[in-house]
């Protein structure tokens, strides 16, 4: 069983958008990320799936350079992380909303736009349209519902139209209808060349990803399309597949 299936590069395809090589992050004796290696091709949606505490967020923080690896390295768009200038080409939607509750929706977007170097009303209007918050632009964020804040959080990550997007559990608290819209928009972005890494612990979104990476105890225990993983695990259910593959690794260790 190939745990770290490499995409077919053969020198012909485009260079990977995101690379991780032997990435390790230790907190004391805990190895939150334990020897992770992968290449992610541009223009695809990658699903980072795993239970809470499996190391998904730490992995994203390593890829965005928010934390320094104990060993190994990460690269985004050919630049070794951490790299502050490179962050201008990355969008990051954090697990917490990470928006200013005392400001209005539009003020939040203008602020993050200015920080990323995009000014003016057009990017704000564009981002508002994507998350369907145009009619709440003047609302103080503190008065919004949880789902609306989540949408604003996504809009803040998109404001500078980054070619690489990390979304840490983006659809938590978002209603089903809007969830469909979110995924339609993610797809439109990848069609235009954006690379998206989405972390989730809900399996029902997994089939919308081009490829899945199953994370457990800081390692990638399986990688492939939803269909490939079902076949590999011999089950029709991704949740079952995750449990089986996870168990498998425990036994063979």
């Amino acid at each position: 069983m190939a745990l770290h299936a490499e995409p077919d590069l053969d020198g012909a395809g485009p260079p990977p958008a995101i690379r991780a090589h032997a990435l390790v992050k230790s907190f004391g004796t805990l190895r939150a990320v334990d020897d992770v290696t992968f290449d992610l091709a541009p223009g695809r949606i990658y699903g980072l799936l795993g239970p809470n505490g499996s190391g998904k967020t730490t992995l994203i923080r390593l890829l965005t350079g928010l934390t320094v690896p104990t060993a190994g390295w990460a690269e985004v768009l050919g630049t070794r992380m951490p790299s502050r200038p490179n962050l201008g080409r990355i969008g990051y939607m954090t697990q917490t909303d990470g928006v200013y509750t005392a400001l209005t929706v539009a003020e939040n977007l203008r602020f993050f736009g200015a920080v990323y170097g995009v000014d003016g009303g057009e990017p704000v209007e564009h981002a508002l349209g994507i998350v369907d918050l145009a009619d709440r632009r003047s609302s103080i964020v503190g008065t919004l519902s949880g789902g609306q804040r989540r949408r604003l959080s996504l809009a803040c990550a998109l404001i500078h139209r980054p070619p690489v997007l990390f979304l840490d559990e983006p659809t938590v608290g978002v209603d089903p209808l809007l969830r469909v819209q979110f995924w339609a928009h993610f797809r439109a972005l990848t069609d235009a060349g954006t690379t998206i890494v989405v972390s989730s612990h809900v399996m029902d979104e997994a089939d919308r990803c081009d490829e899945l990476l199953f994370v457990r105890s800081g390692t990638i225990i399986a990688r492939g399309t939803g269909q490939e993983i079902r076949v590999q695990a011999g089950t029709a259910d991704l949740e079952q597949a995750f449990l089986r593959l996870g168990g498998n690794v425990e036994v063979t260790r």
Binding site: L66, R84, L87, Y92, T94, T96, F111, G117
Partner: protein, 381 residues
């Protein structure tokens, strides 16, 4: 450093505070109310009300002195009566029938002089001091009357400023400096802690913003409000706007009208430098806090020693020598001294003492800004 990003941070901080009414009240109304109250207390404190009971245990000599003393006390506005012995005097004070007891005894040493023992309640030491000095004044007055020769008066002159009866003059600079420091620290500390715990700092650190830009943006944002606060407070402290009687309202004046001889602009510079240091201190200390309560818990550790060791309450010169090295490292001390140099001495930039104060405040601000920038990103899970 990107000017655009710093301006964005500055505008964001300003928008946040502008909407935060309780914080605005804390910044502008609280200092005015408290300085007004302190000034009122210091200026309008009542003269001690003396109700004396006199015990004469020294025979006819004591009687003569006692009568002279009682006459002087009555002239001074005191109520005086005689009691038989010390126990009766103590009982009267205990019952609050009298505020002070005066016991006249033959002196232990020969020569026929008298000992005067003043008995006070003892529960209120500073009130007791007022009682004792009132008696001392009357003893002097009685002696003057008895000998017919005036005891020479002691006159007070000062090198800087003029000796003044207004106790607020030296107190006001200290209060202005302390408030600027205190409120800017609290607001920045809490605000930056929210940035850490609310996830916005994490997000901000995932943008091209540098730590130096964050510290600078915060310093400019909170610096603006500190500047306005200090301007308002200085206007309030130094100004005195007389409002004439209007209908049923009697005439009154707005502002404390504290006399100051130096340039308000220089005073302003001193406080702004102090406030800039307080912004960075707030950012730095928020590193060690997990909750807003912990920001408050730093007050006794960080601010209270500065309050005690910077001449706000106790004169620096009277502090024990073992504490003097600590005084030398308190930023607030330099601001208080700087403001007194400006207010009382009328110092300009050519005065070395003021130069030292400004230099130290500048260095402290730069030092805390640097360590604040270095500690902004704490590697958490």
């Amino acid at each position: 450093m990107s000017r655009r990003r710093i301006v964005a941070l500055f505008r964001r901080v300003v928008s946040e505070i502008r909407r935060d009414r309780p914080s605005l009240a804390l910044l502008f109304i609280a200092p005015i109310v408290i300085t007004g109250l302190v000034t009122f207390i210091l200026r309008e404190s009542q003269a001690p009300q003396v109700t004396a009971v006199v015990v004469n245990l020294a025979g006819p000599r004591g009687l003569a002195v006692g009568n002279a003393l009682e006459a002087a006390l009555r002239t001074d506005g005191a109520t005086v009566s005689d009691v038989a012995d010390e126990a009766a005097a103590r009982a009267a004070i205990g019952d609050k029938a009298a505020s002070v007891g005066i016991v006249l005894r033959p002196a232990a040493a020969s020569g026929g002089s008298l000992d005067v023992t003043v008995i006070t309640n003892g529960l209120d030491p500073s009130g007791d001091v007022g009682q004792v000095s009132a008696i001392q004044r009357s003893v002097l007055a009685a002696a003057t009357a008895a000998t017919g020769t005036a005891i020479p008066a002691v006159n007070h002159a000062t090198v800087y400023g003029t000796p003044t009866d207004d106790p607020v003059t030296t107190f006001a600079p200290a209060i202005v400096a302390f408030f600027a420091y205190f409120f800017v620290y609290i607001l920045t500390g809490v605000s930056f802690l929210r940035e850490r715990t609310g996830g916005t700092l994490e997000r901000l650190m995932a943008t091209p913003v540098t730590r130096g830009e964050v510290v600078l943006g915060y310093t400019l944002g909170f610096g603006l409000f500190a500047t306005i606060q200090v301007a308002v407070l200085l206007l309030w402290a130094l100004g005195s706007l007389h409002v004439g009687a209007l209908g049923p309202l009697p005439a009154f004046s707005i502002g404390l009208g504290i006399a100051a001889s130096g340039s308000p602009i220089l005073a302003f510079l001193v406080v702004v430098l102090l406030a800039v240091g307080a912004v960075s201190l707030g950012i730095f200390l928020s590193t060690f806090a997990r909750t807003e309560l912990q920001i408050i818990q730093f007050i006794p550790i960080v601010l209270a020693p500065q309050f005690l060791l910077s001449g706000v309450l106790f004169p620096v010169s009277s502090l024990p020598s073992i504490l003097q090295p600590l005084v030398a490292i308190m930023p607030l001390n330099y601001a208080v001294d700087g403001l007194r140099q400006v207010f009382i001495r009328g110092a300009d930039l050519g005065v070395p003492a003021l130069q030292l104060d400004l230099a130290v405040l500048g260095i402290v601000a730069a030092f805390f800004a640097t360590i604040a920038a270095l500690t902004i990103r704490r590697d958490v899970v």
